[in-house]
Amino acid sequence: MSDKIIKNGRVVTDDRLTVSLAEGEAATDIAVPAGPVLVPLAVWQARRDELLARARSGEVGVWLAAGEDVAALADDLALLQVVGLHFPKFTDGRSYSAATLLRTRHGYQGELRAIGQVLRDQFNYMTRCGFDALQPQAERYTDAQLEAAVASIDDFTEPYQRSVKDPLPLFRRVERAAGHEVQP
């Protein structure tokens, strides 16, 4: 099974660890391992000063749970290089709105990574909402399946809507022919 992720449309090896707070663990004293990590918002908020240099270098990123308001990170987005948004279930769509807000309202430019239950059949919608890194759970896909899944990012080539990926809706993006009746 793959420990790879999709980044900017390509399958790459990735060793960033996602740190989670288990029940009973406190944000203030949980161990943050060396090397590239994503830490929960609570850890970041509790230990910002301690982690600041590692965040600036891109080693430490922050991930938000699906219910957490992206506004909590607004002041740190200029220094963060990696932000993760979690999908507790692939049917929980909150992180699509969170991604859209991070990219548009808050102008976040760094890596935006989908974590949690990330499935290939949502890659198109995720990338359109501004995710540029897609991290399926390690056991879900083989390398070959992940390679095959890259194509699904382009399932819809010219969508109707405005999104992070397409800043203009179709009616402002292309010239559409005027309506006319076509007889059957």
């Binding site: 909150r94 699509y96 919608y125 699904s152 399932d155 819809f156 809507q161 559409r176 059957p184």
Partner: protein, 560 residues
């Protein structure tokens, strides 16, 4: 009606290809039942009691004749020769094979049809006034706006996994014909004092287990902001709607919890960020889409038609049909015709392949090649010359589509219920059938007059029982089918939710209960009073008293 350009067609073709691959991976074991589930639902595919159910979208109810013929073809080739027309202007097939659905989607795409987002927790098919463009009381044509919003909602990447399903409807006339207040978003097309076009926006309506009527959150939204404002509503809902409890996940619960005013403030705050941005609808886009809905080439017709008047005077059956099933039209000499799918002995809304072909032929001969679905599960031909009505009536009657019962007792709204649907607690079709058979006599029906009788097989309320003058709801008690009866519900401008009259009934009791309700009405009614008027005047008590008069107390207690 709207005709696809290459962009619409390419998107739809890409969707078909995407689902074909998903089905292939599912059948190959690469996509588990759980992972496949929302994908198939958003392509209209349910797994039902006996077989898969496939729900096709008919945006704002408009069907071209070639689309009807395609549906007839699908019914014959992939199903058992018939389809079911629903209260949300969708078409359902009850017996397709799972693995055939990608091919059915490809066939539909060849006539610009699809099953996009007809299920799942996403933005569903958008409905509008079935008499758009022909109704005399219309403010403006809602169809261009419904189509623009359809495009925004279709494969929208941000709102595919909402807390729960999301339904939008447009009303565009002084008389509400879409039950606007039971929608997640109700868009009421209005003009402001300056004569500008916009929408009164209602939010948070819905039937189901907790029926709530939508509340106004914006008295006037200029049409240019339709997309950006709806997006703001959806974003607030997607972020903050409840996801912990399926039964509390609709937007109505969020609106109720916050209160409409506070919810409106949240939306305004969100909207302030995107108002006047790229989602602002341009004049050019509105003009482009509106051109698809230009009036057909009406012929000038005489103000009086002696031949037609003679037919009316000389043929009672025709005159009765004209009175019940034909509506006035904006264009002199034209009429809108409602074909009844409520013939006794047929499940309400069911239509055979032969009937669909015939409706297509009638549409081509008499109504510019178009038909429209009504939420009451009938079909309208909206642009018929008065001079053609007699010929149309004869053809429709021969096919069992001219029952003169529109708005009457046997014009029942009814979901497929426990005979087909795996969600249902009880069967609904046998109830409809028993009522239709008991009250088949047309003179009796005309004497009873206008009455809405709606039946749902479960709390999901597909049969809109809450807004029926008489509503019947199937409930499950210890694995037995029981039926709760309510009265006093109404659709239209004064939409009200009916009140349950008391303990529920066994299947074989229901017809007797309806009979007692009608007897009570006949005894108490004033002249020119409909059933609902009498209920509103005297209240539910006299009806309850009659229905429960001879029921044993302990039996009541047992089935409360």
């Amino acid at each position: 009606m709207y005709q696809y350009d290459e962009h619409d067609q390419r998107l739809l073709d890409q969707r078909v290809a995407q689902f074909r691959d998903q089905m292939r991976r599912h059948l190959a074991g690469e996509l588990s039942a759980d992972e496949f589930r929302p994908l198939r639902l958003q392509n209209g595919l349910y797994i039902q009691r006996h077989a898969p159910m496939f729900r096709i979208s008919v945006p704002y109810g408009h069907l071209a004749s070639r689309q009807l013929r395609k549906l007839a073809h699908l019914a014959r080739s992939y199903d058992r020769g018939y389809a079911h027309f629903t209260t949300r202007t969708n078409v359902q097939f009850n017996w397709p094979k799972l693995e055939d659905v990608p091919e059915m989607l490809a066939e539909l795409a060849s006539v610009q049809m699809h099953a996009n987002q007809t299920s799942g927790n996403c933005i569903r098919n958008i409905t509008a006034d079935p008499f758009a463009g022909v109704a005399a009381d219309e403010v403006a044509d809602p169809r261009p706006f419904a189509e623009i919003l359809r495009q925004w909602a279709t494969y929208n990447p941000e709102f595919a996994f909402l807390p729960r399903k999301f339904k939008i409807a447009f009303n565009s006339a002084s008389e509400d014909r879409v039950v606007l207040r039971v929608y997640d978003i109700g868009l009421d097309l209005v003009r402001n004092a300056a004569g500008e076009l916009g929408f009164r926006v209602l939010v948070g309506g819905g039937l189901g287990r907790t029926p709530i009527l939508g509340e106004e959150i914006k008295p006037f939204l200029p049409w240019q902001h339709l997309i950006s404002y709806c997006e703001a509503i959806l974003r607030v809902y997607n972020r903050w709607g409840r996801r912990d409890n399926l039964w509390k996940a609709r937007i109505k619960i969020l609106v109720k919890a916050l209160g409409p005013e506070a919810f409106a403030r949240e939306v305004e705050e969100e909207w302030a960020n995107s108002k006047d941005g790229p989602n602002t609808i341009t004049e050019a886009e509105l003009a482009r889409v509106s051109a698809h809905f230009a009036p057909p080439a009406y012929e000038s017709q005489p103000a009086q038609d002696a031949g037609f008047d003679a037919l009316l005077a000389g043929n009672k059956a025709f005159a009765t049909w004209v009175k019940r099933n034909v509506r006035t039209h904006r264009q002199p000499g034209y009429a809108a015709v409602v074909l009844s799918l409520k013939k006794t002995g047929t499940a309400p809304g069911d239509v055979t392949a032969e009937q669909m072909d015939l409706i297509a032929d009638l549409a081509d001969r008499f109504s510019f090649g178009e038909a429209r679905m009504l939420h009451e599960q009938n079909v309208a031909l909206a642009d018929v010359r008065r001079a053609d009505l007699f010929e149309l009536w004869q053809a429709a009657r021969a096919a069992g589509l001219a029952t003169p019962n529109i708005g009457l007792l046997t014009d029942i709204i009814c979901c497929p219920g426990g005979d087909f649907c795996s969600l249902a607690n009880a069967r609904s079709i046998p109830i409809a059938d028993a009522i239709q058979r008991r009250f088949d006599d047309l003179d009796y029906q005309h004497d009873i007059g206008e009455i809405d009788l709606n039946i749902s097989g479960c709390m999901n309320s597909c049969g809109h029982h809450h807004v029926g003058h008489i509503g019947i709801l199937g409930v499950d008690k210890n694995d037995e089918e029981w039926y709760q009866v309510s009265i006093g519900g109404t659709q239209g401008n004064g939409t009200t939710l009916g009140k349950v009259i008391g303990p529920s009934f066994a299947l074989e009791e229901v017809v007797g209960v309806i009979e007692k309700l009608l007897e009570t009405y006949v005894e108490l009614r004033h002249e020119d009073e409909r059933f609902i008027d009498t209920v509103q005047r005297v209240g539910t008590e006299p009806f309850k008293a009659r229905v429960y008069a001879d029921r044993q107390p302990q039996r009541k207690a047992a089935h409360v």
